[in-house]
């Protein structure tokens, strides 16, 4: 079936390797707030691919990737010089270099296509990627670079962590901060280059950013974040490749990025503590408990007014104070054992009375409020004088 297909096997293995390397290295790029560096490096690879093609005279993978690495490094150096020698901020420097190199790349691409060379075919696949063009021999290159990335991150783990978190302190310890930063940047450039064939220069940045951003949502420590990021990268790659292999001839690269984006979306929404939904839920819960406290103190003050601890307040009256239905809040308070629904003949509508625990809780709330500021005692009923 699907998995038995030689080409699909190759594509999936390539996607997994790419997902691991870009996931691991992307974690550091994202934490160093250099998400866009990957984007710049990817776009800067295009003129290199064209240069490699012109020099080799044919579509030879080695020379294409060599060219990509060359112009990528050139772009990285240019960003570094701009940041150090001019007053440009990082985003502006990255943006300028990105567009310069991409424009250069597109001009070269159209130049090559205009020469109507028979072997030019598929060079524009580097724009959006063409996973099916990956060969078994390419996998060795991808595997080698992935292994190198994993080995370097393992060996220099604490150094990479420190220069990412606190480069000043790292420098005071005598760590070669610039050399380590350059090493990380070079590794990201390598990851970008091996991803070009699969996802293309335009979308490659997402391979660097997406797994790391998704992983960051689920953990508070760097170690699990990096592992999870590699896992997300590999999963996104596999699922995307499988979907594209279902035979509707959909592009693999963009599909991988789409799957990855779904992972990011779910993580941003649903992850505990950092997720948007979790945040909303927390805030709603807090607001409810605040409202509940207000209702409780209202009942308490009504009971004071009537000199009856167990004074049954009519629900309609409580509703009227708040201008909204309070049934749900009262039921919640009842579930906590703070109020109880009582019958009050001859009326048949709902009445609520404080329980013993509810009275103590209301007194406690009012006491703490009074402690801070008498004016914060903001209950709808004026305290009887």
């Amino acid at each position: 079936m699907l998995l038995a297909d030689y080409t699909i096997q190759t594509v999936i293995m390539g996607a997994v390797l790419l997902g691991i390397s870009s996931g691991v290295l992307g974690s550091f790029a994202v934490l160093r707030q250099q998400s866009l560096l990957g984007d710049t490096l990817a776009h800067a690879a295009l003129p290199g691919v064209c240069l490699g093609f012109l020099l080799a005279g044919s579509r030879n993978l080695g020379s294409l990737l060599g060219g990509a690495l060359f112009t990528g490094t050139l772009a990285a150096l240019m960003v570094m010089v701009l940041l150090r020698r001019s007053r440009l901020k990082t985003d502006a420097a990255l943006g300028i270099v990105l567009s310069l190199f991409f424009a250069w790349g597109v001009v070269m691409l159209t130049f090559i296509q205009g020469r109507s060379n028979a072997s030019q075919g598929g060079l524009d696949a580097f724009l959006f990627g063409q996973a099916a063009a990956i060969l078994r021999s390419d996998l060795w290159v991808m595997g080698g670079i992935t292994l190198l990335a994993l080995a370097l991150v393992t060996v220099f783990w604490k150094e990479f962590k420190l220069i990412t978190f606190d480069p000043l302190f790292a420098g005071s310890l005598g760590l070669p901060v610039r050399a380590l930063e350059a090493l990380l940047t070079a590794m990201i450039a390598l990851a970008v280059v091996i991803g070009l064939q699969m996802v293309g220069v335009v979308l490659m940045a997402a391979m660097i950013i997406a797994p790391a951003v998704a992983a960051r949502q689920w953990t508070h420590r760097l170690e699990p974040m990096v592992v999870l990021s590699a896992l997300f990268g590999a999963t996104g790659g596999t699922v995307g490749a499988l979907i594209s292999a279902t035979g509707r001839s959909l592009a693999t690269g963009p599909l991988i990025i789409l799957v990855m984006s779904v992972l990011v979306l779910v993580s941003l929404l649903a992850s505990p503590e950092r997720g948007i939904l979790w945040d909303i839920w927390q805030r709603t819960r807090y607001r409810r408990s605040l409202k509940g406290k207000q209702v409780l103190t209202t009942l308490y003050q009504l009971s004071l007014k009537h000199h009856n601890h167990a004074y049954p307040s009519e629900q309609g009256m409580v509703d009227a104070y708040y201008g909204v239905g309070t049934e749900a809040l009262l039921k919640q308070l009842a579930a906590q054992g703070l109020v109880a629904r009582v019958q009050h003949m001859p009326e048949e509508r709902s009445h609520w009375a404080l329980t013993e625990a509810g009275r103590h809780e209301a007194e406690r709330i009012l006491r703490t409020l009074n402690q801070y500021d008498e004016h914060t005692l903001d209950t709808p009923l004026p305290v009887s004088s």
């Binding site: 978190f165 302190f169 760097l222």
Partner: protein, 276 residues
């Protein structure tokens, strides 16, 4: 004079000669001499843009000086790294970084650990002991973004403590922290001084200079004055360092009060005023 490779002014904890630092041809520090004896709790004060942080960073080799020599206990900084501790400005790092308080403190041991070695049980124990000294032992597993500003500053201080240094540089450790933390930090700094260590603190609050510190350096691109606090903390020096801004910082009556007791301002280090 002895050759540079040998010990230079070994009786001083920090000795800086003719230090000049410039960013894009604009001088940030101009021909500074610094002499700090060992065993003092020293403050560096000066207006915004006076180069206080830059002075610390260039002593630590984080900023490349245009000119000048730096000695820690008589030797160049490169040879004395293990004897120096550093607390950067709290705002210089991203506190949303995925790590715990204890993990940040163990970073202070990376220098001693060296390459390739991993953080082990011993390092974690050292970090926990340091967290206890700053009253943060209960927060050791806490994600650092969940800590308050004062707690983050204490974590940074604990990281410097595990460095077990002889000379400490602290960049605005009291900025934006609560009163309890400020008191705790001052107590720890005093304790370190009493152990014979030297502490050099960039400080922003003139009101507390005299009560916290025993050595003072006033900076405004040039070194305005340095010496013991009672000698240096004078109305003349404050005016020289802060210029017109002093009116915003202190009332005139405060300055007059400073002027009245006696003329102690004559005791300024001679080097500081001879610069032009």
């Amino acid at each position: 004079m002895t050759p540079l490779s040998q010990r230079h002014e070994p009786q001083l904890a920090v000795h800086v000669e003719d230090l000049t630092v410039s960013y894009q041809s604009k001088p940030v520090l101009w021909d500074i001499d610094v002499n700090v004896p060992p065993g003092v709790l020293a403050a560096i004060v000066g207006p915004n843009g006076a180069g206080k942080s830059t002075l610390i960073k260039s002593i630590l080799g984080l900023v490349k000086p245009t000119a000048g020599h730096i000695y820690i206990h008589g030797r160049p900084y490169r040879e004395q790294r293990r004897r120096v501790g550093y607390v950067p400005q709290r705002s210089s790092v991203d506190w949303d970084f995925p790590t715990t308080a204890r993990d940040v403190v163990t970073m202070g041991l990376y220098g001693k650990l060296g390459w390739l070695k991993r953080v082990g049980k011993r390092e974690q124990q050292q970090a926990e002991d340091a967290l206890e000294l700053v009253g943060m032992q209960d927060f050791r597993h806490r994600q650092i973004s969940q800590l308050s500003g004062g707690q983050q500053q204490r974590v940074f201080l604990a990281r410097a403590l595990v460095q077990d240094a002889d000379v400490y540089f602290l960049d605005e450790p009291m900025a934006g922290v609560d009163a309890t933390t400020e008191r705790a930090i001052v107590n720890i700094l005093r304790e370190l001084r009493d152990q014979g260590k030297t502490l050099i603190v960039v400080h922003h609050d003139l009101q507390t200079v005299t009560s916290y510190f025993d050595w003072l350096m006033m900076l405004n691109v040039r070194a305005v004055a340095q010496g013991s606090v009672q000698d240096v903390y004078t109305a003349d020096n404050l005016r020289a360092a802060y210029g017109g801004q002093i009116a915003l910082l202190q009332s005139e009556s405060f300055l007059q009060q400073l002027e009245s007791p006696a003329d102690t301002s004559a005791d300024i280090t001679p080097d500081a005023s001879g610069v032009n």
